[in-house]
């Protein structure tokens, strides 16, 4: 079971308190009627499905109820960073090298 740090509660909780909510930073087109079928497909269906560092949304359903973002290594399931909605994505290459140099310590 994952242990996830909620950036709003500023505490670590077990995964059962949270709901996974898919890839983060996907922006809905401003005017859906104006976009091409391909762009609409990309928005609806195409996902990074990264093997490595994946940036994703979680919701603290059985806690504060708020959505936040998580950077997780999908090979080891290790969580490298959690941050509030509206704040910028952390530098993934720095996180990647931190994971490579100290895989056991890489926790938020």
């Amino acid at each position: 079971m994952l242990l996830i740090h909620c950036p709003y509660c500023d505490e670590m909780f077990p995964e059962v308190e949270f709901t996974y909510a898919g890839q983060a930073h996907i922006v809905r087109p401003q005017d859906p009627a104006a976009v091409s079928d391909e762009a609409w497909r990309d928005f609806l269906f195409i996902r990074a499905n990264t093997k490595g560092l994946h940036v994703e949304r979680w919701r603290h359903t059985h806690g504060c109820g708020r959505f936040f973002n998580v950077v997780r290594d999908t090979v080891s399931d290790r969580i490298l960073a959690t941050y509030k909605i509206g704040t910028p994505m952390p530098d993934l290459s720095a996180l990647k090298s931190a994971l490579a140099s100290a895989p056991e310590k890489a926790r938020p």
Partner: protein, 417 residues
Amino acid sequence: MTHFSALQLLKNALTGRDDWSAQWPEAEPKSHYDVVIVGAGGHGLGTAHYLAKEHGITNVAVIDKGWLGGGNTGRNTTIIRSNYLYDESARLYDHAVDLWEGLSQDLNYNVMYSRRGVMMLAHTVHDVQSAQRHIHANRLNGVDNRWLTPEEAKAYCPPLNVSPDARFPVLGAALQERAGTARHDAVAWGYARSAAARGVDIIQNCPVLAIRRDAGGKVTGVETGKGFIGAKQVAVSASGHTSVLMETAGVRMPLESFPLQALVSEPVKPLMPCVVMSNTVHAYMSQSDKGELVIGAGTDQYTSYSQRGSFQIIEHTLAAICEMFPTVSRMRMLRTWGGIVDVTPDRSPILGKTPVPGLYVNCGWGTGGFKATPGSAHVLAHTIAHDSPHPINAPFTLERFTTGRLIDEAAAAAVAH
């Protein structure tokens, strides 16, 4: 290759079993093939078998990063059924069941296909209505399925708890008698043996790192751990890692990879005569011929490539199993494991051509690819041989996510996802 027969068995029994030859040779990659298939699971090996047997294409390599049948073919719960709601799915999965019935004879290999029946329980009024809709839709498509009252369900599967005060009361069940199970490893081994005997190279422990294309966009081959291997046609049959590989060919896939867990109990005497599934409480169970209870459920909630899942999924699954089958509540579980399944937005596979000339894909089976193994391998071989889809897999295109013509088995909820 030795032809398996009762006579061979007797002869080897009398002569100390020294006469069995290797079922397939170790193959080193050649520099070029007509067709390279990535992924030596049941689907990939089956595709090679049908390419060789039905289309005469034998200059084929099946390449796997591990050992053959060591991915999801060796990790699934071996359930076979075809009671899907939509016409396209019914045709595809029923095609597979048709092939399952003759597969042992076709391969000269006992895949232990057992028509023991799959029963899907209804616990709520909504379940009853949905199950009956499925039954009617299935019967219109010529797919076997019928309704059982709780008493009939109990008679078909005695360990099932159908008492009215059960936590998950059984209001009835849909039964597909033609459905059942097969021995998963034997499917991979049987296809591998048959394909190798026809000249197909099976290259194990050789990861495919990238798909290469020429300036015109056409596929030229694959980059592997043992160097570049040229190919006129490449078929990707790599389940959870499909999107990673397709990305190297410049194709972004509507796939997400999730861990799916399963577990088996200690072996016991025959207890479960059939497969029982419950979508509402999210658990299913059957008994292997070794006597282990084989138990599974839905995927974990997050995407991952770790081949392991969270413990609460197992806990939830077993809680549901113990409510439905109180008699197993004190059994010990022997093993749990996870595999990585690639899931499409509509929970139907993507099976056929891609925008890249010479590149084919067989993916998106999500939690239920084993049952379709012979059917999907058969139609993919047709697609590769003719560079044009078989009528059965023609609707399962990648383009459907652009046109919107989905085959929405996700909404139909024929399966516990």
